[in-house]
Each structure stands twice: as C-alpha cells, then as structure tokens.
Symmetry: C2
Subunit: 316 residues, 2 copies
C-alpha cells in the first residue's frame, strides 16, 4: 500500500499502484495543506488514511509517483483550480514592507505635486481679492493656512498695508476660495500623517537605514531600487547616483560630467557640506547607506548611531 | 478769482493766477473726490471755498489751468501718492464676474487633474490589498467612494469574489489608504460646490449663454476668450474652434484638416449628433452661442429658450 498527497488531495494505492481511495481537498483546505506539504509535515487526511489502511511508512516520494502514475491526468481540472488558489495566495503573501514603503513615498511625492497645483490656483484666485499677500508669503503651506485663519481685514493690519488693490468680493465669492485653501491644507496634513506612518514602518523594517539617511531619503532610495533587498545589493557608487539616472545617461551618451549625487543630495549631510566637498560627502554617505542597507536586510544589529558619528567626525 | 480742483486738492487763485488758498485731500478723500471730478460734480471743498471767496462761477476748465500754471510741480509728491491710490482703486474695481468665472472654471479643471493623480495612486495602493476591485470599478469617483463606504469583506461578497489575491494588511496600513480615498472624495465634493457656485454667477451674468451652452461649456468659452465681452465680439466661426488652437495651428502650418470643433464639442448637442453631421451641429451651436453671448453682453432679453428650441427642431 502506498500513500500519496499533493495539492489536490491524498490518494491510497495498492501494491500494483492501483487507486484504492482518495480524499480531495475543498477550496479552503488547499492552502493549509499546501503549506504543510511544503514543510514535509503530515496532513490530517494522511493520518486518517494511514490509520484506516494500517500503512506504517510512506517509503515513496512524490516525485517517484509523478513519474510512475498517469492517473493524475484525470484530475487536471482539480490541479488547475488548486494552482490558481495557491498562486493567488502566493501573490497575496508577496506584498511586504517594500510595497507599503514604495506606495507611501510615491503618495507623498504625489501630494507634493498636487498641493503645488492647488495652491498655485489658490494664490491666483485669492489675489483677485488680496493681491498683496502673494508676495509676502512665499511658503505655500503658510499661505493656505494663513487665509484660513485670518480674514482680509486682519491680514491688512498685520502686514501694514494701507490700501489693498484687491477687489471687495462678496462673502460667497471669498468662501469658495477659502474652501480651496482648506482642501489644500488638509492635503498637507495628510502628507504629515503619511510621513509618520512611513517612519513607523521603516523604524521596524530598516532601522539602520532610517536612522542614517532619514525617513524620506531612505524611502526614496528603496522605491528607486525597487526593494530593500535590491538596495542592499547595490554597490555604494550606484546608491550615490540613484535618482540621477537622467544625468548618468547623459554622461554615458554625450560624455557630459558624471552626476555627483542623486536622491542623497536631499540629505542634510550633503546639503550642508561646502560646495568643494559636496561630492566627497555624497560618496561617504553613500558608503554608509550601503552598509546600513546591508545590516538591515541581513538582520544585523543597530549600528547606525556609531556609523553616523564616525561619518560626521570625518567631516569636521 | 478762480477755483481749481484736481485729484490732490482744491485751489483758489486770484486774477493774476497767484495761489490764495488750498485744501489738500487726505488719503481717504482722494478716491471719493476723484469719482466726483469724473462726473463733473461739485466737491465739498469747492463749495466751502466758493462761499468763503464768493466765487460765483467757475469759468475755467481744468485743462486750461494745466497749460497756464506751473505751480503744480511743487505738488509732484502729492500727485504721485494720489495717483497710486487711484490706480490701486481702479485695479480693485476692475475685478468682475469674468475674473471669478475664469478662476472657478480653471479650478474645476485643476481639481479634475488632481483627483486623477490621487485616484491613480489610490488604485495602485489599494490593489496591494484588493486588486480585484480595480478593474470592476472603472469610474474614479465611484472607486474612491466605494472603498470609504465598504470594507474588503463586504466588497468581496458584493463582487462575488471567492479568494482575493490581495494581501491581508494591518488595520493601520489600510487606514492610510482610506485616508487618501477620503481626501480624493472631498475634492470631488469641492468640485460640485464650485460648479454650483459657477452656475449661480452665470445665471445672473450671462443667462442666455448659460442656458444655451450649459455652465461648464460657457465658462470654458469665457475663460478661453478672456471675457464675456471678447466672446461676444468673436465671429461664430472663432467660437466654433475655440479651445482647438493646437489643431488650428496645425492646419495653418501643415495644411492638415481644419478642426471642426473645440470646447463646444463637450456640449451634448454636438456630442449626441451623428458622426456625419457633427460638424454641422457644431457650426449651428456656435452660431447660437455667438447670439447668446451678444445678448448677454449688451444686456438683451432672455431669449435662449426659443433659440434652443429652434436649434433643436432644425436637427430633428
């Protein structure tokens, strides 16, 4: 007697390899049994059939059966169905922190784009009413928040403007503009929430990288690389120019200068470096980021603070 | 004795054109007096000085004085200040319905663009969790509203999906996505508010145009023309291709076909016309829009219903 299990069920054969009994899995059992099979663990159905037929040892591997038996062709439909269920399951479990990080950082970039569009319109629209404010408040977020908080009269006083060139609009005209400001502001708040959420993921998923490069830069690097794994396998020189692909290809095709830095340019360590040593700072940072990414991907210790300290001392 | 008023004040001269007395306006009086001067009405300061000096008639025009007197050069600073105040006043009163209409319709277009960006991201993000929904719900607004209202479980039931390929995310992961959906939805509602507001302006400002071409098409035409005045002065053939400038210039430079319609293509009258007569429908609609714009700009009667009826009967 032989016992054989695969993703569609458990089968019992006699010595001549003729089918004696079968238990087919229903949709819900498929994944559970698939996972047990993967781990070479005993299935419930196997236990049951073993007891019934007093089979003591299964001395034949699945693979041998696949070569020996052609009975499986009768179950092609079951296999088709089971395979789809398993594939769906595999897809669903393939979503990981990388995906969440990439979606969130992309959403943050998109919110930046969108708020810029909306506040550009807001400035133009509100300038019918109060043109003087546009130049006084350069920051978009501040602009949107200010006109929500204060009306024209108090703003005129605050900014010490004697006579505004703006039209005196009706209440309902102004309220349309304020509504737009509120929506822009609400998107700024969403961006903050997204950033906090992103940080919370990254502090668990890649705490060295997050500590060293900061949440936004780290997330952009992961998004550009495709995953933390890929980032951890990149050489430091690639990390240095990640996000500067355009300039890199220009260098390759036209012989223009090589780019000194990509995404990591946004890191204060590079940003605050003197112009002459910006390239050097970028190279050093990329080195350390490469180490941090490797530490995180291969589940190393939390060494980012000492790495950061070392890096900063080098540039004092 | 002569009395002379200008934007900076009122002056009394003797027979030899020597200054006897002056009353200079303060900042607040300037615009008020400027408006009275424009209408050739008597100023309070003139009345006062007339009584004091018993001047009966002012028989000399401002212009004559400007030629005769060079005393004004002593007041150049006053003139400079008064002119700035008047200019600001003029700018502030130059804002009219056209500006409000243009800002609002431009904002509506921008909201369309922005919601598309956000929902594109939303679809990608939520598809980590529930990829099956993306294809089932094509409309962006419906998609955003649906995932706010219903959770994955009830959507799975509604759509009769056995096993979703989506990952089972944590609550806090999903809530980030739902937040984005809420913001997109809120922008859709803002768009509706904007449209209602726009309609309320246009029903007063250009009710013939609004009735005939609809709020959105009318507003787009006014925005493209620059103002209702400009639109009313355009020939119907220009109105027909307004918004199709790219195709028009392509026609001029490369000899490609002339565009048949621009913005008015979005009007149901053109949209629902059979393909062979779409061009003809566009031409007719442009004719009628031209009439409606003229009626509105030159304060004619509300004739749009009969014009529309006539137009529709022609195409039956």
């Amino acid at each position: 007697m032989y016992l054989y299990s695969c993703i569609i069920g458990t089968f019992v054969f006699n010595e001549h390899l003729k089918l004696k009994e079968k238990i087919l899995f229903n949709d819900k059992e498929i994944i559970q049994n698939y996972l047990l099979l993967e781990q070479n663990k005993e299935l419930k159905t196997e236990k049951k059939l073993k007891e019934r037929y007093r089979i003591e040892v299964i001395d034949i591997t699945h693979k041998k059966f696949l070569n020996v038996l052609d009975f499986l062709k009768d179950y092609s439909e079951n296999f088709y169905k089971a395979n789809i269920i398993i594939t769906k399951y595999k897809i669903s479990t393939s979503v990981n922190e990388d995906n969440l990080i990439i979606q969130t950082i992309d959403n943050i970039s998109e919110i930046d784009k969108v708020t810029n569009i909306l506040v550009k319109r807001l400035r133009e629209w509100y300038s019918l009413y109060f043109p003087e404010l546009d130049r006084k408040i350069e920051n978009n977020k501040d602009y949107a928040q200010l006109i929500i908080k204060k009306d024209k009269d108090s703003l005129t006083k605050d900014l010490k403007i004697k006579f505004s060139m703006g039209a005196s609009l009706r209440k309902e005209d102004v309220s349309q503009i304020i509504e737009l400001a509120k929506h822009a502001n609400s998107l700024y708040l969403l961006r903050e929430k997204n950033e906090k959420y992103l940080e919370s993921i990254m502090q668990k998923y890649c705490k060295n990288l997050n500590f060293l490069a900061g949440t936004l830069v780290s997330a952009k690097l992961i998004a550009q690389a495709g995953s933390l794994k890929k980032l951890s396998l990149f050489p430091a020189s690639t990390i240095q120019v990640l996000g500067a692909e355009k300039a890199l290809f220009r260098h390759i095709t036209t012989g223009a200068r090589t780019p000194k830095y990509g995404i990591i340019m946004q890191h204060p360590f590079v940003q605050n470096a003197r112009k002459e040593i910006k390239g050097k700072a970028a190279r050093t940072l990329a080195d350390k980021i490469s180490i941090a990414a490797k530490l995180d991907y291969f589940k190393g210790d939390f060494k980012a603070p000492s790495i950061k300290k070392e890096m900063e001392q080098k540039f004092k």
